[in-house]
Amino acid sequence: MSKILVVDDEKNIRLVVGKSLEKAGFDVYYAVDGVQAVEKANDINPDLVLLDLRLPKMNGFLVLEALKSDTSTEDIPVMILSALSEEDDVQRVISLGAEDFLVKPISQSDLLSAVEANIRTEATNGQEEKEEENNNEA
């Protein structure tokens, strides 16, 4: 089963995004601030990080930078899910190595198709492929 780390300080977002992803068959983990996000990414090595930009303790840009500059986490795809939509912000996260930029609010279907397009698959990790197959079977 693919693991997705949802990083958002908003409890409700964690709830609805998490539920949506769980319903779609993903294994969902949560982080409530930037520091926790970096820790958990290292701990659980998720197949995708869904990252908010405005976060307490350490903002999303710094989290992204930290993940992409650490060899153990640099391969994890990171998708930004933020209320910010300024061109500058988009440019900045893309240059930092984020895979996609989703602007809140987003519909369930848009979220899922974006997740599916970006999640680490067998092409990038053999182990993931197996889990993916398991998921499909489930």
């Binding site: 409700n12 609805v16 609010p105």
Partner: protein, 608 residues
């Protein structure tokens, strides 16, 4: 007698002349009368005496002939002639005696009478004498007596003739005298008339001249004078009235000057206390008026009146704006004041005089820095609020869609209906938040326009693609006329596409059935894009406001409504292109939304 009126003076003058004329006429009549008398005298007195003398001579000569006749033959005839002429002689003698007018005439007549008596007595003696004695009597008595009488009569005639000559001379002299007197009098009348006419003209004209001079001075706005007219006639009254009028005018002018001064001071006070810089320039762009704030802004210390604008203010951009007196939109400029950048909105107004000749340009620079700050604060606020909305909207959207998709269990109809309504509103709210963010970005200039050479037909085609299905469902004939090829504009393709899609989306939203026509064409230096529908149209009162934020035509708040921001955003986009967007619409007959954007190759301030 003191005659006061002009009429009186003129009448008096004429009266004197008439009197003199009457005198001349009277004198002439008198002279004619005496002349006539003199002629009468000659005729009556002397002519009669002469006539009597001549008749007496004739009679006595006939008597002499009778005597000679008697001396020769006929006794009877001779006596008869003698006696008849004797009677005749006495008749004329009596007449002459009745008409004694000259001194000595009576004595002569008496002498004639005596002599004629003896002549007649001698005839009796002659008649009774014998034939031979008759010659003797005739020669010695009758003939000498006859000659004496004749001579006396001649004397009588002569004195009468002389009297006649005397009378004629007297009449002539009288006539001459009359002529001279008449001439003298006539000359007097003429002289008097001339003097009177001269006096009258002078009397009337002098005050009129004075008045004329006065009026001329008044025309030159000299109210410091009074006209001196001593007379009390009509002209005098006129002069008095005139003086009174001048006094009133003087008073009026004083009042006006005072008012003008007050107005001037007021205007100056207003201009100088104006917190915005104000500059007035004339036709040659020379400064006519500049207020303290403007001097401060451009660090002007010296007197700059009558100096060319550019000599004083080195701001070409502003000068270019002022130079073009055509109607134009307000423009903003950045100027440095106290080392801080400040925003000024410039506006000009042409002051045109009565002859509609352009006179002055009033330029006002409004410091809108604070407004700009407030505006950016507002945009910032809108942006923040919108962002804050996005997160809860996300959870609402996703939560609702999960429930509606029955990921959390089955729903009954009622639950579904309610949740779908909620979901719909969440979507609308999302749209609104996105529009608000777009608008605030464009307004604050945070969206960068990416201008390029774009094929307008291509943009329209691509933009319309997603709409055809929707149009078909609503039985609307959506058509791109494409009446011209190769239309290239200088624009940001994604923004123009956004505008077109907003306009088409609106047309679709408000129309049921009918048609929507999109077209583009080149209009000189610009490209005109239009979206025409035959929908319900827009009431006139909304047409000018429809491009403002949150304005929707009519009071429809039903599901047809958009966010009310689409046209506001469209306007911002088109304005950022240096273009113009507007609507032509008639209620019930559809609407045509059109916009201009610069044609490629004609951009960058190359406006028509």
């Amino acid at each position: 007698m003191n005659i006061k009126t002009l009429k009186g003076k003129i009448l008096l003058g004429f009266a004197v002349m008439i009197l003199i004329l009457a005198g001349v006429v009277g004198w002439s009549i008198y002279n004619f009368e005496s002349l006539s008398n003199a002629i009468n005298d000659i005729l009556v007195e002397n002519y009669r005496s002469i006539k009597a003398s001549d008749s007496m001579v004739e009679s006595i000569e006939r008597q002499d002939s009778a005597l000679l006749l008697l001396l020769r033959t006929s006794e009877e005839q001779g006596q008869e002639i003698f006696r008849r002429n004797e009677k005749e002689f006495y008749t004329w003698l009596a007449r002459a005696e009745d008409n004694i007018t000259i001194e000595g005439e009576g004595a002569i007549l008496e002498k004639i009478n005596e002599k004629y008596f003896s002549f007649v007595s001698n005839f009796d003696q002659f008649y009774n004498a014998e034939e031979d004695q008759r010659w003797e009597i005739y020669n010695q008595q009758l003939l000498p007596r006859f000659n004496e009488i004749k001579n006396d009569i001649r004397e009588l005639r002569e004195i009468n003739r002389q009297a006649m000559v005397e009378a004629q001379r007297s009449a002539n002299s009288r006539a001459n005298q009359a002529i001279i007197y008449t001439i003298v009098l006539a000359l007097l009348v003429i002289a008097f008339s001339l003097i009177f006419a001269f006096y009258l003209t002078k009397q009337i004209l002098r005050p009129i001249k004075e008045l004329e001079k006065g009026i001329k001075k008044v025309a030159d706005r000299n109210f410091q004078q009074q006209i001196e007219v001593a007379s009390e006639d009509e002209i005098g009254v006129l002069a008095d009235e005139f003086n009174e009028m001048i006094a009133k005018l003087q008073e009026y002018e004083k009042l006006n000057v005072k008012k003008l001064l007050m107005e001037k001071e007021k205007s100056e006070a207003v201009v100088n206390n104006l917190s915005s810089p104000l500059i007035v320039t004339d036709q040659d762009h020379k400064i006519v008026l500049i207020n303290e704030t403007a001097k401060e802004l451009f660090s002007i210390k010296q007197d700059v009146i009558n100096t060319h604008f550019l000599e004083v203010i080195q701001a070409e951009e502003i000068f270019e704006y002022i130079k073009n007196p055509d109607a134009k939109e307000k423009k903003t400029f950045k100027l440095k004041k106290d080392d801080k950048e400040r925003h000024y909105r410039i506006s000009t107004r042409q002051v045109i005089d009565e002859d509609e000749e352009y006179q002055f340009t009033v330029t006002l620079l409004e410091d809108i820095t604070r407004l700009k700050e407030i505006d950016s604060m507002k945009s910032e606020f809108v942006s923040t609020v919108s962002h804050e909305f996005r997160t809860p909207l996300t959870s609402m959207n996703m939560g609702l869609s999960m429930v509606i998709n029955e990921d959390t269990g089955e729903l009954n109809e009622e639950q579904r209906e309610l949740l779908e309504a909620a979901y719909e509103d969440v979507e609308r709210l999302t749209e609104l938040v996105n529009d608000l963010l777009d608008l605030s970005k464009i307004e604050s200039g945070r969206i960068e326009m990416e201008f390029d050479k774009v094929d307008v037909n291509d943009i329209i085609e691509k933009t319309l693609n997603p709409f055809y299905k929707q149009a078909e469902e609503k039985e609307i004939d959506l058509k791109f006329k494409q009446s011209e090829d190769n239309i290239f504009a200088y624009a940001d393709p994604s923004k123009i596409s956004w505008v077109i899609s907003n306009l088409v989306g609106n047309a679709l939203r408000y129309a049921d059935k009918g048609k929507i026509e999109v077209d583009a064409e080149i209009k000189g230096r610009r490209v005109l894009v239009s979206v025409a529908d035959n929908g319900p149209g827009i009431p006139r009162e909304y047409q000018s406001k429809i491009f403002d934020k949150f304005v929707r035509a009519g009071n429809d708040k039903d599901e047809k409504s958009g966010t009310g921001l689409g046209l506001a955003i469209s306007k911002e986009i088109i304005t950022a292109h240096n273009g113009r967007i507007w609507v032509d619409s008639e209620e019930g007959a559809g609407s045509t939304f059109s916009f201009y954007i610069p044609r490629f190759g004609y951009q960058e301030g190359k406006d028509e």
